[in-house]
């Protein structure tokens, strides 16, 4: 039996005395499309940051593909096949889109420690970067500076950077936030096109897209997991209504 892509047990995280994530346990089998729902402050992004390795949990353990990563750094987890996007833009705004993807690709290569090799001569790298941009429909903007692109284009670049590393576990933090209807459709199509063997965990507020996309939904509130199940189960469960409507 293959280990689940992600497993967290009894995860707990305090911020200055206030628990942001309380006793969260969750298993995401390989290949699943999981959606994290919940109102603002429910602890979704904190959970993401814990999984990604931004900070350690106060209690609990995290396993990625069966390996205990609780004490591992974010970069070590990336080398295990994890990638993530961010809610806020953390791109290299003064560099071109192509450069951004190249940096993403280089993260997994020994090249990143080489003080002599000219990165501009690594043609294979630049070609692969261009191909990745094509995946998200941005190849026509390859040589444009990120600072000169639109918000929607940056969101797509975010996803390209994550996909460039061919991750096995992909964490998407509100990939559709702030986008127009057309842009949302584009991203949705992009996400559907990601191969099925990639496990995706997504935080999203756009209900229609999210519910259509997800195999399993986890609803969080105030740091706890409140409801978990497939779309029908979650929609029918009275606890879900409680979370969003307060009764």
């Amino acid at each position: 039996m293959t280990a689940p892509a992600l497993e967290v047990n009894g995860l707990h995280r305090l911020f200055g005395g206030l628990p942001a994530v309380r006793d969260v346990s969750m298993q995401v089998p390989a290949g699943e499309r999981r959606l994290l729902l919940g109102p603002n402050g429910a602890g979704k992004t904190t959970l993401f940051n814990l999984i990604a390795g931004d900070f350690p949990p106060s209690r609990g353990e995290i396993r990625i593909f069966g390996e205990n990563v609780t004490r591992k750094t974010a970069e070590q987890r990336t080398h295990l096949g994890m990638a993530r996007t961010y809610q806020i833009i953390t791109l290299f705004t003064n560099n071109t889109l192509l450069h951004n993807v190249v940096i993403s690709l280089m993260g997994l290569l020994k090249l990143r420690f080489n003080p002599l090799s000219d990165i501009r001569r690594q043609n294979a790298l630049w070609d692969e970067a261009r191909a990745t941009l094509a995946l998200v429909g941005l190849e026509h903007l390859a040589d444009k500076r990120v600072a000169d692109t639109s918000y929607g284009e940056r969101r797509r670049l975010e996803i390209a950077m994550a996909l460039a590393q061919k991750p096995k576990l992909l964490l998407l933090d509100e990939p559709l936030a702030g986008l127009s209807t057309d842009e949302r459709r584009d991203i949705q199509r992009l996400l559907q096109a990601i191969p099925r063997d990639v496990t995706i965990i997504m935080i999203e507020h756009d209900m229609d897209v999210a519910l259509a996309f997800a195999d399993v939904i986890t609803v969080m509130n105030r740091g706890h997991i409140v409801v978990e199940g497939n779309r029908a189960d979650v929609v029918a469960d009275p606890k879900t209504r409680e979370v969003y409507l307060g009764h």
């Binding site: 974010a74 290299f92 990143r112 003080p115 090799s117």
Partner: protein, 325 residues
């Protein structure tokens, strides 16, 4: 490109044009200062790490060079290799200690370490000559050339400048150099992409220390003397000023900054003895009225700053643009 060619031609022809030992020596000072400034710029401009202790590598290499060749019986080449190696090892240690923090903490640690070195040089008179410093270094004969001749020595240092410029520019365009610039701009993102930010910064710190040591070697032979002043905070501050004044994100900037500071210092010293005041005023003026030069540092401190810089401020940063060939 044309500008570079003219500049290089001017550098090469300088002793001819100038015809005076005094000015040739100033040229040599500029060359040596340029190497120091370029090495610091690896940290400041490309790494976003502001160090106020970079004189440590200049000073230690200079002290070791003179001590080994005048008191420990080392030949010039052996002494140079030993001095630079030992100083680079010191950079490894100091880099480890300084990188236990970031931003302001990093700055404080580099300052403290640098001043402790100064204190050691000042007090441990039996080893370092104390306030009197170490002297007696004799410039070697290389390939029949007598380096005591100012023009010969100028060209000698120019070779090192060319090597430094070439290797540092290679570094900047290399995988490690690009990784370093990435960690300057978005450290959190770099970690998520699989980069060991600490290791990249530490390796760059050691690289910068190495070139600081090279500057120290030349400094020792130029002055044929070294005093604790070479390790003092003011020397580190002058190096930082060269980087800031010349422009941080470029390769040539530090050279321009070095020229400005060296010339200013020599001119001022000829007329008034208030160099320190002028240095202070320039620092204050640059910081208050020319902040663009400090933006890379400000960005680097994002974790400590209360307000987040919004992305529009990053556009003032003169990042090295990547253009695939």
């Amino acid at each position: 490109m044309v500008l570079s060619a003219v500049a290089i031609a001017a550098l090469l022809a300088m002793p001819w044009l100038v015809q005076s030992d005094y000015y040739i020596n100033i040229g040599t000072q500029i060359v040596i200062a340029s190497i120091l400034a370029m090495s610091l710029n690896v940290l400041v401009g490309f790494g976003g790490m502001i160090s106020l202790g970079h004189a440590s590598y200049l000073g230690v290499a200079a002290y070791l060079t003179i001590y080994l060749t005048t008191q420990a019986g080392f030949g010039a080449l052996a002494g140079a290799l030993a001095a630079i190696s030992a100083t680079t090892i010191l950079a490894m240690l100091f880099g480890y200690l300084a990188l236990r923090a970031s931003g302001l903490g990093f700055l404080m640690i580099t300052l403290a370490l640098g001043q402790i070195l100064w204190g050691i040089a000042y007090r441990w008179a039996s080893l370092t000559g104390g306030d009197n410093g170490l002297g007696g270094a004799v410039r070697p004969h290389i390939f029949g050339l007598d380096l005591m001749n100012p023009t010969a020595f100028f060209y000698f240092t120019l070779i090192f400048l060319a090597a430094a410029f070439w290797l540092i520019s290679r570094f900047v365009q290399s995988g490690l150099g690009q990784s370093l610039q990435g960690t300057r701009d978005q450290p959190r993102r770099m970690r998520a992409l699989g980069y060991n930010v600490w290791l990249i910064q530490w390796m760059s710190f050691v690289f910068a220390g190495f070139w600081g040591a090279v500057a120290g070697l030349l400094y020792a032979y130029y002055n044929q003397f070294v005093s604790p002043q070479a390790l003092h905070l003011t020397t580190s501050a002058e190096a930082l000023l060269m980087v800031i004044a010349g422009g941080t994100g470029t390769l040539f900037g530090p050279v321009v900054g070095a020229a400005l500071v060296v010339i200013l210092k020599n001119v001022v010293s000829a007329y008034i003895t208030r160099w320190l005041t002028l240095l202070g005023i320039i620092f204050v003026a640059i910081v208050m009225f020319m902040p663009e030069g400090l933006v890379p540092g400000a960005r680097r401190l994002r974790g400590i700053m209360r307000k987040r810089q919004n992305s529009s401020t990053t556009q003032a940063l003169p990042a090295t643009e990547e253009r695939p060939t």
